[in-house]
Amino acid sequence: YLLLGHWRKKHLTFRILNVPSTLSLPAVRAALHRAFKYWSSVAPLTFREVKAGWADIRLSFHGRQSPYCSNTFDGPGKVLAHADIPELGSVHFDKDEFWTEGTYQGVNLRIIAAHEVGHALGLGHSRYTQALMAPVYAGYRPYFKLHPDDVAGIQALYGKRRPETDEEEETEMPTVSPVTTQPGPMPNPCSSDVDAVMLGPRGKTYAFKGDYVWTVTDSGPGPLFQISALWEGLPGNLDAAVYSPRTGRTHFFKGNKVWRYVDFKMSPGFPMKLNRVEPNLDAALYWPVNQKVFLFKGSGYWQWDELARTDLSRYPKPIKGLFTGVPDQPSAAMSWQDGQVYFFKGKEYWRLNQQLRVAKGYPRNVTHWMHCGLQTPDTNSLTGDVTPLTTDRVLGTTPSTMDSTLD
């Protein structure tokens, strides 16, 4: 197989723009839905038909002339169809072919469509002449199924279909796109505890609660966004979140799964099952002093080197052995570039100095960390130093990049 590109998302829409003269719309629709089903049966992809407006993948028929395609066709025979690679989404069939379904006569629409959808998903041509992605049409096969090379190619792009999704989406075409459950109630950053916090890309501080995420700046909490609006495919009610400036990767943990994003793009093959640390973590942080990721659960922690094979069999180790004065079962944790560490539990937070010892005067109320109603920076009365309650003042970043991200 050859990989030509891939979609950053896995839940795609498609639209049938017109049909050929030789098949009825219901027959075309059935053939095309089955063509998509070949791929969604072996990879964690869903395809939902839309009948108006924009769609990720747009299927249409044109002939020797076309107002919107420079690649004209050549009449019956020879070139049957062509498609653009991700994330363009155009799939064109030669309307002058004798498109059929269920017969050895003519050209089978379902098989050709499955091939072209393979291109639209990022596959190039296969060297196996019996593979769906072989360049030459091998004729109608009533019990057609994907060749192992086709399956290997699509799974190299989008990962394997997870068993649990079999129950979720064992539905006949049109595959339903993931149930967009209504988001949970919006939390109030000034009175709520947090599921997770992290010092994210470009030095922005993110706080997560339920299905929502917001940034924390000197001027208080930013606007709330649905988590999935920023990190496509990420669920709410997270256990932990951690961004590593060392690798540029952001990891999210929930239950027995881990998601990885680079910026806001999910890395291929994720989410993955957690198998070397316990599920249902409490918190995670990146410690810049030794560039390691720390994972917390109950009274224990794991220290993970992202770039080296870490022997985690000696973990978990007791949190109190390294982080002096912090509570067990924290709800969130994060660190700042200067090595200062923050732990959160319920509505309180603790600040630790570079020796990982809780500073005097802590715990304090989280509303203070969120800058709710407070404009003056936190000053430590003993030393008079201006302690960066949040991370933005030190970097002088503004909340604007969140908007640009959303833009």
């Binding site: 072919e97 041509h125 060297r127």
Partner: protein
């Protein structure tokens, strides 16, 4: 057997259209015989046909078969 001009053009079009032959960067349209032979060999190998580098009936027939309009990435040079 030497190809007639029409068939030669059709074969070159096919090999160019599907990525078995690359237009020389310096723009000269004339292809060296060895490039054409090499391109034919790559096509025959990818099509699981006898690899001769010559235009034989099996190769001619395969080129006539209905197919997808996208290029084939089988020529390592053009793939690069």
């Amino acid at each position: 057997r030497a190809l007639g001009p029409t068939e030669k053009e059709a074969v070159l079009d096919y090999l160019l259209q599907y990525g078995y032959l690359q237009k020389p960067l310096e723009g000269a349209d004339d292809f060296r015989l060895e490039d054409i032979t090499e391109a034919l060999r790559t096509f025959q190998e990818a099509s699981q046909l006898p690899v001769s580098g010559q235009m034989d009936d099996a190769t001619r027939a395969r080129m006539k078969q209905p197919r997808c309009g996208l290029e084939d990435p089988f020529n390592q040079k053009s793939l690069k």
